[in-house]
Each structure stands twice: as structure tokens, then as C-alpha cells.
């Protein structure tokens, strides 16, 4: 997916962009609202991550103008303020959702998915690999005529493995990305989800391979 990140802190923007790139997303960074306007005129985006407080204005006013001009690219506001009235006012202005800084990337990912799911059909989220089609928004995996539903963590796992097919991911790395940091999980917790995904991938022409002492990778059979 292609994100436009509107955030005035250069360091934070770079870090968020790298983190989103890790998930396989493309990110353009606009440090001001003027830059954001320029980016939006030149390229289509699947989602805008919009900070509220920017050097050349308030993100909420920018959003209100966008909506008034009938440009409806989904927007998730990044608020530094946790006050409910601020959160509600961002939704009134036409934001699709909000997330409070500092945010959990898992949560951001989940919110993006929920927003795009509500905007049904706006984004082609299907991906072909080996003998199956993976739809990350619909959370389905289709093999031939058969459609298999994926639970959230199976989906996340498949997304991560598919972002760089053939590359091995360690258990620890997968745990960091699959579980919230608030949960205390053992390294073996990942095996449950690997097992489940393997069953869903049955007969799909792809294989979830265990590399002893290294981790897991997805390869075509």
C-alpha cells in the first residue's frame, strides 16, 4: 500500500517510514501541509497519516478542506492529545480513525486495515503467489475455487512472510511483529500460528518451511 505521511518531525517521519517499509508499504513524507497538497496532486495514495499540529497549520483544517473538495482518500489522524473531545473532533472533521502517539505499529496496521475494509473496493488488496490468491483486506486465501478465511494473526504472519518471499524470519522477529509488546509470550507461541497457517496453505503450491535454529520462510513448492 502507498501511504502519505504528513508529520513535521523529520526523525519520527524517517523512523515511521522505515517501520512501514518493513511491512512492505511505500511511504512518502510531507513535512508541511503545503507539501502534502503537492504530493496529493501528483500521485494517488491508499491512506494518509496526518499529524494535527504542523508548522503551516492545523491538520484538522486541512482535512476539512480536503473533504469539502470531495477528495476522500482515507485519513488516520495521529493525535498527540489523548483528550476525548479532540479525538471526537477529528472524526467530525471527516477522519476515518485516529491513533494516539506514541503508537503501536500493530495497532496502526490493524486500524489501517479496518479503515480500508470499510472503504470496500477502493484498494486492490489481492496478491498472487505460487498457486494461491491472498486478499489481505478480505482476510482470505483462495486456492482454485476454494476460499479459506484467515484469522488476524494468520493473516499478519502471511503478510510478513509474503513481503519478502524466500527470506527467513526468526521466531523472535515474528513474535515482535505478531504480538503486542504488552503481552508476555514465549517463543513457542509462534508455533501455534505457523501450524494453523500451514493447514490453510495446504495444496496452495506454497510451503511454509522451518529452518532449524533460524526460523521460517515461505517458498513455492
Amino acid at each position: 500500500m502507498r501511504f502519505l505521511l504528513v508529520e513535521d518531525s523529520e526523525d519520527l517521519a524517517r523512523a515511521v517510514a522505515s517501520r512501514l517499509a518493513m511491512e512492505g508499504h511505500g511511504v512518502d513524507h510531507a513535512p508541511t501541509l503545503a507539501d502534502a497538497r503537492h504530493f496529493l496532486e501528483t500521485a494517488p495514495y491508499d491512506l494518509i497519516l496526518l499529524d494535527i499540529s504542523l508548522p503551516d497549520g492545523d491538520g484538522r483544517d486541512f482535512l476539512a478542506r480536503e473533504r469539502a473538495a470531495r477528495r476522500d482518500t482515507p485519513v488516520i489522524m495521529m493525535t498527540a492529545s489523548a483528550s476525548v473531545s479532540d479525538r471526537v473532533s477529528t472524526l467530525d472533521q471527516g477522519a476515518d480513525d485516529y491513533i494516539t502517539k506514541p503508537f503501536d505499529f500493530g495497532e496502526l496496521q490493524a486500524r489501517c486495515r479496518a479503515v480500508l475494509r470499510r472503504r470496500d473496493g477502493a484498494v486492490d488488496s489481492r496478491r498472487h503467489f505460487a498457486g494461491f490468491v491472498f486478499d489481505s483486506l478480505a482476510a482470505t486465501l483462495s486456492v482454485g475455487d476454494e476460499t479459506r478465511e484467515l484469522r488476524a494473526r494468520e493473516l499478519r504472519l502471511l503478510e510478513i512472510l509474503l513481503s519478502r518471499p524466500g527470506q527467513a524470519y526468526s521466531k523472535a522477529h515474528l513474535i515482535d511483529r505478531l504480538f503486542s509488546f504488552d503481552e508476555e509470550v514465549s517463543d513457542n507461541a509462534i508455533e501455534v500460528y505457523v501450524g494453523r497457517l500451514r493447514r490453510k496453505l495446504d495444496g496452495s503450491g506454497a510451503r511454509l518451511e522451518t529452518l532449524r535454529g533460524v526460523g521460517y520462510r515461505l517458498i513455492p513448492e
Partner: protein, 465 residues
Amino acid sequence: MNALARLLDPSRTISLRRRLVWQFLVLSALLVVGLFLTVGWVADRASRASQDAVLGAAVTAIADGIRSVDEGLELELPYATFSMLSAMGEERIFYALSVGGRMLTGYEDLPQPASHPDGLQPVFWNARYRGADLRLAAVTRQMLVDNRSEPVVVSLGQTRLGQAAIARDTARSAAWAALAFLVLALPVALLAAQAVLSPIRSLADVVGRRGPRDLRPVRHHTPRELAPLLRALNGLIGRLRASLELAETFIFEAAHRIRTPLSLVRTEAELALSETTDPATRVRLRRMVRAIGESSRSANQILDHAMVLYRTDQFAAAALDLSNLVRAVVRAVRPLADMRDIRIVARGTDLPCPIQGDERMLEIALRNILDNAVKYAAPDGLIEVELTRSDGFAVFAVLDDGRGLSDDSLALMGRFRRGGNVGDTSGSGLGLTIVTEVASAHRGRFALSNRKTEGTCALLHLPLR
């Protein structure tokens, strides 16, 4: 006297109305006493003047009835005069007639005037005689007695019992009339006091009815005398608004300045975590990310709690549909549940559920209940959200299939209290306090219990509109 002392005590709040009424009463009482004395004095003078006229006429008539004859003096008593004197009531009359200082006839010991009257006009004086107050008149005539001109003095005294009584009666009647007037005027005075004070009350009403966030200047029609108060009030409101705006800007700015670098730290830590394989470093980085998450969650909850306390103080309920609110909150929480493969099933939110309440407070409460359920539900679990109506209450129920409660659930409602079986999950312990406070502000109640099967049941009752 006691009441007066209380009235003058500076530490007491003053009632303007009472003060006005008191002033009216005291002034009126002084007026009544003054009237009594004045009328008494005037009546006394008037009665004395008329008595003097009669006495003067009588004594002159007697004196004029004295003729000198060869044998001496001849007195012809003027009966008409005496009948005039007797017309003045039950008064006693005393007289004395002396010639050249020798008592001729009448009461020998009748008091004599201080100075001997000369000229034709009678003199008058008061004296005490035989146990009664007398008004006396005397007149002198020069008569030829034995070919010598001798002064003949006629004195006439009359008691003044009746006259004094009349004067007293008159004064008393005047006082009674004034008192009656006072009694009749008291309710009028009360009404007047009320009318004078009513603009103050209506101004207070206008200011009192305002919502907590209404900081516009007061534009109320007040009498000229209240204009300085209104100006002062509006000045205060203006300063309050300016300082609140400053505080809000400050909090917003502070939050922004703190949370942006915290976001950077957290993101960089996550990136570092993805690039390292050293187990010790990983543990450190995970701890760091966790601490940042915890601090921002605690900050959120403390702010939420402050907001709930503030809004409880200024409770302003509005009509709202709880179903809408539940749908919105479920929608906001669903992605979080999704991350942990927890399903949320909502029932009963398609029917309108009208209640009276503060939307922001209720949102915080519902959000806290649901966040809690997501936090403690079993992995791959199910959270059931149910909105029902029973006995005049809207019942918001959240059932999870987690580990349930280990302690007495009531103990969890205290500030910063957490259950004994949650060491592996982070939280500030403020969430349930917030929910309880919101419930009681709405005259509702909140209860947490263990389900018969696994898990916890949270019940929030709110009165239906």
C-alpha cells in the same frame, strides 16, 4: 437586641432584604415614638391655650365685677363665667381675692403668682395645690378703697385632670394610627424590597443556568445600579476564558512536544529490535517499548479521570442514543481486538436506546470497559457486547472468556488497584474507577462479576430517558 447583634456581626453574610426590612422597622418605630411625643405636646399646648382663654376670660370677668362702693368693695359674681368653667369637665375651681396684699375672700393658701400682675392682661402660671396640678390666672385692678388706690388681685385656679387626659388620649390615638399604618405598610415594604432585589436574582439565574463551557460575556438587561457588577462579572469571565485558552493551548502543546519524541523512541526501538539477534539486547528493547506504551496509557487514563471528575462537577446531561455510542466505541475497539484474534459480537445495538447523559464521559466509560475486556480476554477469545433494557435501565453488558477475577471485584474499583492475577498484563488500575465514577454521575451503577463459565461479566446500568 440579640437579633440586632447578629445583624451587625460582620462575619455573617448580610441579607439585603432583611437589612431593608430592619431599617424600615427601626425607622418606623422611631417615627411612631416621635409622633406620640409631638402629638402629645401639641395637644397639651392646644388644651392649655383653650384653658387659658377661658380662665383669662373668667378672671377678667370677676375682676370687672368688682366695684368700689362707699362701704368698700362690692363683688358681683359672674355666674355665666362659672358655668363656662364648669363646661370644661370635672375640674375643681379655686379662687382668692386680695386687696393690697391682704386676703379678702377665697382660699387663703392658693399659690400666688411669682410676680404681681400689673396691667390689664391676666398672667398665667402652673402650680401644685392640694394634690393636683393647677392652672392659675390672676389679674390686678387698681380700686379706690377708703379713698386710697389699692391693687385688687383676683386669682383663679383650675385643675387640669381632664385636659391632660385629653392630650394623652390624642397622642395615644395618633400613635395607634401610626402603628396601624406601620403594620399595613410592612407587607408593602417586603414587596418593595423583593422588587428592588429581583434584578439581582434574575441576573444570578442567568449566570447560574449557563453550561460549564459557556464563557461568553453575560448580556442581561439589568438596572443601572447593577451595571458595575455586570461589568466586573464580564471582566472576570473574559480573564477566565483567556487563562483557560492558555491552559488548553499549553496542555496541547506540551502533549505534542512530549509524545512526538516518545513516538520516535518507540519506533526506533522497534526498528532496533528487528535488526538485532542478541537475546539480552532484545529483552532490553522489549522492556523499553513496553514502558513507553505503559506511560502513554497511564497518561491517557489520568487525563480521562481528570476529565470525568471535571465533568461530574459540571454535570450537564443531554439526550442521546446509547446504541449509537456503543456502536462507535465497538468500532474503535475492534481493530485492537483483531490484533489478538479476539472477536467482538455486539447485540441489541440496532434499536435506539434513549438515555440522558454526558456523551464524552460515557464514551470514556464504555471504552474503558471494552479495553479491559480486550486486555483480559483469552487469546482467540470472544467478547459479547449486549445492550438491553430492563426496569427503566439501559443495561450495557460486556462478557469475556478470560481468566476472570481473583479478588473481590469491589476492591478493583479503588484508584490504582489492580487484580492479583494480572502481573503479566500492563495497566494503570484507573480504568474501573473511571467507569464507577461515570456510572454514579449518571445515577447508574457498575458491577463486575465472574461468569459461571470462564471469564468476567461487566454490567453498566444507566437510567433510561
